[in-house]
Symmetry: D2
Subunit: 310 residues, 4 copies
């Protein structure tokens, strides 16, 4: 098949741009076209359960509303998150923010009470408010139960967050479960630990597997949309092991594969482990998720509307 | 400054998408917004001479028309190219194509007469036509002159290419000089060498510098837009050394900086060498040029139109 | 300071090679020299508690014995591991192996019952033995206790593993605690979950923090040696938050920093969060841990011996 | 085949270390072992002509002596270099140096007259001496001839450099030709251009191909050892096109392949173009050449001696 050259017109929609990339069909251009097309099909397919996994600074990096809106629109059925993205979602719901355009050194930032994630900055005063609010919530949770699964714990927190912009709140509203197997490793985890110094509240690390397994077995098809690597990526794929693997997957990453790290592992590798079915459709896009994912979502939603004749 | 969250609407234009990324302003999202904004300003600024450098499979990868259209619209003043991109431009003008969607091994491809660049494929029969056509052109050039600078050589070839889709043809039409310091290292170079086995035709390797220097000294401001690394990247920057460096630069690359390679070098490094002015505006976008560049061009052209009230 | 050129002599020891790299002192050569020197100092310093974090296929990739030997020699005080590395350690203790030199497709591997991690292969028959052995161990653990912290769980497992080559066994022998905050996300976690379908055994996700905190507060100085990213990297640094951060750290990674992922984050970023002290010594080596870490360990041990006059 | 675990002993030689990596045989460990073994075989094989290509700051980064010694020992038959590495070789022969351990900003460096390549620094006063010396040499060359091929030009320069540490000098002494197709794009090229403003001296860009072709046709077997990408990498492979490609190749790079750049292209791709024979032995090592190459050379030389019983 011949490669056609892309044509750019000012004012073209995101989907029109991506369709031009599809005319080329090679290198990154081909990857993002195929990923967008697959995402649109997954969204339109009533039979597919969509797992979204997020690692890396997706909430601090500006993707909070996109993820929240996808959940609100019913386009995400299961969210698997790093603990940090949940912490940062709550931080904003409690009145905090994320900041940019600082040029201090890391030593200076430390003295100013600012934490850095790439070119994203946080303020310790925001975390202080977070701590106060979350400790009240933990007390209320502990007043009701002394042991929970991690998913239940997140749901309980969400019940105390009355912020329509919140991912956790919106997930609760839409009955989208949030799993965070590494939840302990973030500020939320730290607060939980401090709370348990004087209170009884146990998170059962393995407790979510039964529920997650039920979701997988109850799905006709499962798709994984994977932003970044880490525990969320692996959990999204591995939870489908017992049914022979996901039916399709999209991943967006800048990690590379040669040293064998999970983050950079090609999705095809998941086939060997039965974490992706042999006939599954798999697309990896190499790039920064804060560019690639909004583009792909805009393109896919436009494609879905177009199909529907909206 | 607070990071705002991006909002995605189906049907949004490319610029609207990029402006949402600008609201975040961090990580890749911030980079592509700043690069797009800078590109729009450069295009609108009559006083800036724009150098575009291209290395890597930009023409085979589907960017031929975008580059040609930028030249045709007067948005590129100087093109600095790898030899290969010129070869592939000519290959298409001579009737050849680039191909995709093959899954043979490299050994099988070799036996089929197909060359591979990532997931792009070429056919040796297209190269055979290329050889015939180019040798006729070389004869005609040698009939007129026995020594040329590389830029003159490319111009002479362009005079024999009557294809409005061709980058070389369009550059000739618009008086945009094309420099290719490494021209020998491609199929065009190979054909030139074969021709010189029995004919007299010398390319003066250093001959272009005088002309290029005149362009730089004759420009109020110079901007470099750099796709990929290699000789074209360095040449685009180094040719501005004698005037203290470029006034602005944008680069798109997936290479990394730690091992000191030029391709991955941060643009800031060019300041130390007076290849970029100390007050220059410099934006690097980490990503695949076949995604990033079309997006940036679509956004910048839309921004320019918006400014003009078109 | 002038850069000197490296001199290579056949038969030179690893330390001699690394010292030549130190003469250069720049790019990767400088990084590995500084990392080796720092590691040697940390090993020699009685006052420093060394945290080793391992993510990515370190055990399958051939580093099991190096890690075990470092623990056995008293050079590692705390191990923070991905669940997978513990699973693979047990897999070998139970008689299984890791394999190489396969060239089947992922689909073929799946049908052969082989899982792939880069160019490393596993056999499902080895995992079947793993499952039998681990379920017996889980029964014995559940016979004694119905709730454990993750560290205690790993220690209990180690008590049933009588293999001097095992990391877990050796860590038990030397009283080196192993933390694995993401333990659920591996074959060991899967077996635990299956076991808990019909048995009572709860892992308390937050339970280790108290103990880990005691170690940090009880240490005069803490150093983190970080192979790969993920939860283990963050946990190693974040557990030092309450005392103002680690005193020194070395990381080996191929991940890059621009997209904000933790794996690629520069160690300097940890200073802003008080996860590394402002005056801490931090060295990142960009490369594949299966090359860099053995080289660094060989060089550091030789340096320690040289200092001691051994 | 089972993966064995590496064993580290303090005082082990570089080859012993690499052989431990060979026991693992996977990921980077396997790659460097196979590359070292192949390099040793190439060095021992009288019938193989070895092309060494160098791009990126190999001379400034501390590899000058290693490259010079390989040439002096007869282990390199053809050198293909970026112009910059030749400039930096001459800079040192003319009394200049490369520097490290600066922490100024790029703006400050520019004002101090220092250029930066990663964490390598140069001084403009060294370049001023370079300019004086090279202009004298250019005069002498132009006194004898008014047109040269690039290789002849480098040889002529080498005849004026009486420095046993110099790569160019040593290559002359050993009749090892140096090709530098992009020679114009460096300080040496800039000086040549300035000289030709008032003098007649033409470098024939395509002139070397005949000679290079004779070398390739005159070789029973050809091997390419490739450090970094760029023009030198491609030239080393493409010059073997007419004989069906190299018989073996080793590359060391940190570039990645997905965006189609030559630097990151897998060596296997060269098979499709008949730049590497279908049955050729090809090894890529992902890493920083200032770590990987000295290690590989030390290991290979020790292996050669061991084979010889030295």
């Amino acid at each position: 098949m011949k490669i056609e050259h892309m044509n750019i017109e000012p004012g073209m929609t995101t989907l029109q741009l991506i369709e031009e990339m599809g005319k080329s069909g090679v290198l990154g251009a081909g990857r993002i076209y195929r990923a967008t097309k697959l995402l649109a099909e997954l969204i339109s397919d009533e039979e597919t359960t969509i797992f979204l996994s997020i690692a890396g600074p997706m909430v601090p990096g500006g993707l909070r509303k996109i993820i929240r809106d996808l959940i609100d629109a019913g386009h995400v059925d299961v969210l698997i998150s790093s603990g940090a993205n949940l912490t940062h979602d709550l931080l904003e719901s409690f009145g905090g923010s994320h900041y940019r355009d600082h040029d201090e050194t890391d030593e200076e930032l430390c003295q100013m009470g600012m934490g850095r994630i790439g070119d994203i900055y946080t303020k310790s005063e925001d975390f202080e408010i977070f701590e106060k609010k979350i400790s009240t919530i933990l007390e209320e949770i502990a007043g009701k139960r002394d042991q929970l699964n991690i998913r239940e714990f997140i749901t309980e927190i969400g019940n105390h967050v009355d912020d329509p912009e919140s991912i956790i709140h919106t997930a609760n509203k839409k009955n989208v479960p949030i799993y965070a197997p590494g939840i302990i490793d973030c500020m939320l985890g730290l607060q939980l630990w401090m709370f348990t110094q004087e209170n009884q509240l146990t998170l059962d690390a393995a407790g979510d597997m039964h529920e997650l397994s039920d979701i997988v077995f109850g799905s006709k098809k499962v798709a994984a949309v994977i932003l970044g690597g880490g525990l969320p990526k692996h959990y999204a794929l591995a939870s489908n092991l017992l049914t022979g693997g996901v039916d399709s997957a999209i991943q967006v990453t800048l990690d590379r594969s040669e040293a064998g790290s999970l983050g950079g592992a090609p999705l095809e590798e998941a086939k060997s482990w039965a974490k992706a079915k042999c006939e599954s459709r798999l697309v990896s896009v190499i790039g920064d998720a804060t560019i690639i994912f909004p583009m792909m979502v805009a393109g896919a939603l436009e494609m879905v509307n177009k199909e529907k004749g909206v």
